[in-house]
Structure formats: C-alpha cells, structure tokens
C-alpha cells in the first residue's frame, strides 16, 4: 500500500507536468528520516506524520520553482537528468546528516504488538497500513473527482494549454502539484519508517518499484497506479513464498510482458 502512495505521487506529477521525477524515492526517504527524527525529538510518531511531509513538500516547491522550471522548454532528457542529479544530492545528503547505518523506528504504542487471527499472528502496524491504504486511496479519488482543485488538476493533465486559456495559473499549479506529490511520497516514507528499517538505500529500492508500477498501470493514470501497486505487491509476496529464486526478477518480466501486450500500460489511454 505504501508503494501505491509513492506511485500516485509519481504518476500525478508525470500526468500533469510531464516530468518523471527520479528524486521521488529520495523524497520518500527524506520523509522516513524526518519521521524518525521527530520520534527522537518529541517521542511522537503522529507529530512526525503531521509535520514531516509538509517540510518535504516545501522543499519540493523550491526545487520546482528554481531548478525544474528553467528546463521545461528543453528536451525531456534534461528534466530526467536534473532530477537524477537531485537524487544523488539528496541521497548523499541524507547519508551525511544521519550516517550510513540503518535505524529502527518503533510503531506508536497503540499500534504495537500482534493480533492473532486463527493460527496466524499479524503485527498491528501492518494491519493499520492495510486499512490506511484504501482510506488514503479513497480520499485521493474523492479529491480528484469532486473538489475544484481536483478538477483543475485533471483539466491541466488533459490539456495544459487549454487550461491556461480558461484561466488556470499553470505555473502555480505545477509548483503545487510537485509539492503535493512530494507530500505523498514523504507521507509514505513516514508511514514506512516503523514498517521497515530506515536506511540510505530505501529510496533507491522504492523508486525502481514505483517506476515499474507506473509503467504497468499506465503513466499518468490514477487507477493504474492503484492496480499496478496491487499486482506488484501481490506478485512480490506470493513469489517470495512460492518461488524465492526468481522473485527478484519477476517484476521485470511482468514489465516486459505488459509492454508487449499493452504498450501504454493497463490503464493508459491510446493516442
């Protein structure tokens, strides 16, 4: 479900702005580290969840305004390269500040412990994540479908110039969208912190997986990100138990297969 949060941010940014953000995984990681830092300072996981992501979003707004904006007119590759540079910078910056070691964050007291269902036991935190995923997904969907901002976003994604003509301030919108995507990524990171260990490699791992999700689902497609994340998540967990040897290669095989049969992804629009 975390993968879904990251992928939605990535696919929204791509759909509206046409920018594929390599640094998205780094923002995710930054969210996790900030969450960890807030736990250390104030002892509160919830405070980290509340405060960390907006900080990352503000940072992302600056990145969009001062670094990304000058390269919109140029070849798409330059945007990729710019975000790639940012990724290197952020990843090593994190390593510089927090060190290369892995950190463990405990889930908040309410969500600590395990629940016994039949003969299996599940960590409460994992169940919390599983419940939270559809909630966040539903909230996002409602946001896109019913609110004014959501409509503006969809309009801009569909036809940037047309939206500009009818009075949408596209540059402001772009900054907002980029910050919004970063907020989602950082939220995912803060939520992931107690679930997995926090370390400098976590951004790199998630970015590749979310790339695959986004391509499988169809770039810029919101339901695509959901279904893609679901497929990849299921595939990963089943393959780990059934055939652990090929598990790591399976996502790529799936990627190749989807591209051969549906080059635009499962939910991509034909053009």
């Amino acid at each position: 479900m975390l993968l879904f949060l990251i992928s939605v941010g990535l696919t929204t940014v791509f759909g509206v702005m046409g920018v594929l953000n390599f640094a998205h995984g780094s923002l995710f990681m930054l969210g996790a580290y900030l969450g960890m830092q807030f736990v250390r300072w104030f002892g509160s996981f919830w405070l980290g969840l509340l405060l960390g992501p907006p900080i990352v979003a503000v940072l992302a707004a600056f990145i969009e305004r001062f670094l990304l904006r000058p390269v919109y007119g140029r070849d798409v590759s330059f945007q990729l390269l710019l975000t790639f540079g940012l990724m290197l910078f952020l990843d090593d910056g994190v390593r510089l500040v927090w060190g290369p070691a892995y950190h463990v964050v405990n889930p908040p007291a309410i969500l600590d412990g395990v629940i016994h269902v039949f003969s299996y036991s599940y960590p409460v935190y994992r169940i919390f994540l599983v419940v939270l995923g559809p909630l966040v997904g539903g909230a996002l969907w409602a946001f896109f479908a019913f609110t004014r901002w959501g409509k503006i976003l969809r309009a801009a994604a569909m036809d940037r110039e047309m939206a500009e003509i009818i009075g949408v301030r596209v540059p402001v919108l772009f900054t907002a969208v980029f910050a919004f995507g970063a907020w989602l990524a950082a939220l995912g990171g803060a939520l992931a912190a107690p679930h997995q260990s926090v370390g400098p490699a976590m951004g790199e791992r998630i970015i590749i997986e979310s790339f695959i999700v986004v391509v499988i689902g169809g770039m810029g497609s919101f339901p695509g990100a959901f279904v893609g994340a679901l497929i990849l998540g299921l595939l990963n967990s089943f393959a780990t138990t059934l055939m652990p040897d090929v598990q790591m290669a399976l996502p790529y095989i799936l990627l190749a297969f989807v591209l051969l049969t549906r080059p635009r992804g499962l939910f991509g629009e034909e053009t």
């Binding site: 140029r74 590759s77 710019l82 290197l88 090593d92 695959i212 391509v215």
Partner: protein, 322 residues
C-alpha cells in the same frame, strides 16, 4: 568534406600519440588511473551513441557493461585461457543481450525508454546477484588468472600495468575508431535523423525501430567490451558493475564532457576521475557534489565542458573571419 575531417583527425592523431607516450611520462599510479579513464571513456562513448546521437536516454547501459565483464571472466574460467577469446566473449555477450532488451525497449522513446532500460538493467543486476552457482553472487567472480598476451610468438605478461595499459589503449582506440566510422556513415546520419524527428525518418522510408535497435546493439557490444576490460583491470567481475548507479556514471561522464560531441564522454570521464580524486581527499560523500555539479551543468551548460569549449572556439573563429 576533406577539409572538415582534416582538423579533427590531426587533433585525434596528436591525442593518440600523447596517449602512447604517456606511460613514459607518468608514474605507475598515473598509468593505472589513465587505464581506468580509458576504459570508462569507451563505456561512456557507447552510452553517448544512444543518448547524444540517437536521443535515447539509457539508464541500463551498465547491464551490458557488467554482462560483458561476466562473459569474459566466465570464458577465462571455463573456456580457453585466451585473452582474445575472453574479450570477444564480452563483446558478443553485450551484443546478444542487447538484441532482446533493445527489441523491447526501442518500442517506446524518451521517458519510457529510460525506465525500460533502467528496469532491464536492474533485472540483469538481480540475475548476477542471485544466480550464485554461476556468478558467485554478491562476491563476484575473481578467481581467474589473466592469461599472457600472445603477440606473434612474443608473449607479454599483463601483470605489468604499463603493458596492460597498452592493451587497453589499443582496444579502446579500435572501439573509438569503429564508433567514429558508425557516426560518420549514412547510418550515423539516420541516427541523428531519428533524434531530431523520428516521423520524418520513417517518411523517407527508414524503419526507425530497426535503426534504433541496431544502435542499441552496437552500444551494448561496445559496453560489453569495455566491461571485459574493466573486469581484467579489477581482476574481478562483480554485480555492482551492473547496478544502475554504474549506468549513472556513464550518464554523468557524458553530460560532463558534452552529449553529442564525439569525444565529449572521454573528456567527461577524465574530468570525473580528477574531480573524484580531489573531492574524496576532503570528504567521502562526494556524490553530493556530483549531484550539485550535474544540476548546475544541466541548468547552465547543457552542452557539457567539451561542447561549451568547442562552441566558444567556433564563435571566436567566426568573429575573426569576416
């Protein structure tokens, strides 16, 4: 045409002569560093054939580089203990892998191509990392001996870094000449055409996909060759060589030196190592500087160092003539 080619080819001869003479002027350490720069130049230039000339940003070039390294080392361990056979295996291994991966990847361009190559590159990485019985897993393959080079009955031991340098220089120059030939052939024009406008190229009757696939295979083969040399240089083939961070190195070198400029990646590779040398003397976190440098380059000098210098020279010359 003759006049256009004469200037660069004289400059090229001077560069090659300087490189041949370099071992006598440099310390042993300098020779070793120069060897690595040469290998990485070939690798980065194979990437530039795709990015600079064909307009395809590949983030999986290290997959072929590493595959070449493994093919070469596996040939030495299981097959004939011949240097040329191992190098050929690296070259062929890179090319053969590039055929199916390229076939899948060139269907899409720009961002999709970048993601696809990244994905497939990481797939190769996972294979190298997990297929313990063949690749040795994360330890890599290191237990091989470098055979002696047999030159018309005159055997040379490659354990001397200077001799090894000459071998690398010879192969890299051969690879570069091959690339030069490709770039200046009608096929090279087609490549640039697909970069500028794929539709028009297909209107004049060329098959854009097969043109791109062919470029992809050539790039894969040369990356494999560079990988084989790199495995000999390090005496090991390890999974890190296939990781996308390694692909990123080729991307960075190309951007540093100048994408689309023929020798840009080589200049970029040299700058890369000099920078790495100086910055790591102060701090181990040198990627942070590298990221900054890349951001600044993309924003201010999209042509790279060599590209900017060349266009500056061109402007000076133009200003003087009329």
């Amino acid at each position: 045409m003759r006049n256009i080619l004469r200037g660069p080819s004289i400059a090229g001869l001077v560069v090659v002569a300087a490189l041949v003479a370099a071992p006598w002027a440099l310390s042993m350490y300098g020779v070793i560093v120069l060897t690595e720069i040469l290998i990485m130049s070939l690798f980065a230039m194979s990437f530039n054939l795709l990015f600079g000339y064909t307009g395809l940003l590949s983030f999986g070039q290290a997959g072929f580089f590493g595959a070449g390294a493994y093919c070469a080392v596996l040939t030495l361990i299981h097959g004939p203990s011949s240097l040329w056979a191992a190098l050929g295996a690296g070259f062929l291994g890179g090319a053969l892998l590039a055929v199916p991966i390229g076939w899948l990847s060139v269907r899409r361009d720009e961002i999709y191509f970048a993601i696809l190559t990244l994905g497939f590159g990481m797939m190769l990485f996972t294979v190298a990392h997990n297929w313990r019985s063949v690749t040795g897993g994360s330890d890599g393959l290191g237990n091989f001996t470098l055979p002696e080079l047999n030159l018309f009955g005159w055997t040379v031991s490659l354990f001397n870094p200077r001799y090894f340098y000459f071998l690398v220089l010879f192969i890299v120059v051969a690879g570069v000449l091959f690339l030069l030939r490709v770039v200046h052939s009608p096929f090279g024009l087609l490549l640039k055409g697909t970069r500028e406008n794929g539709n028009r190229v297909s209107f004049v009757g060329a098959n854009v996909r097969s043109v791109r696939l062919f470029a992809f295979v050539i790039a894969g083969a040369l990356a494999g060759l560079a990988g084989a040399l790199f495995a000999f240089y390090n005496r090991i083939a390890s999974p890190e060589m296939l990781h996308w961070a390694f692909s990123g190195k080729a991307v960075l070198m190309t951007i540093l030196g100048g994408a689309g400029v023929f020798l840009g990646p080589a200049v970029g590779a040299a700058i890369f190592f000099v920078l790495e040398h100086f910055i790591t003397a102060y701090t181990t976190n040198w990627m942070i500087f590298l990221g900054l440098i890349l951001v600044v380059l993309v924003l201010l000098f999209p042509k790279g160092v060599l590209g900017s210098v060349l266009s500056f020279l061109a402007r000076v010359r133009k200003g003087r003539e009329p």
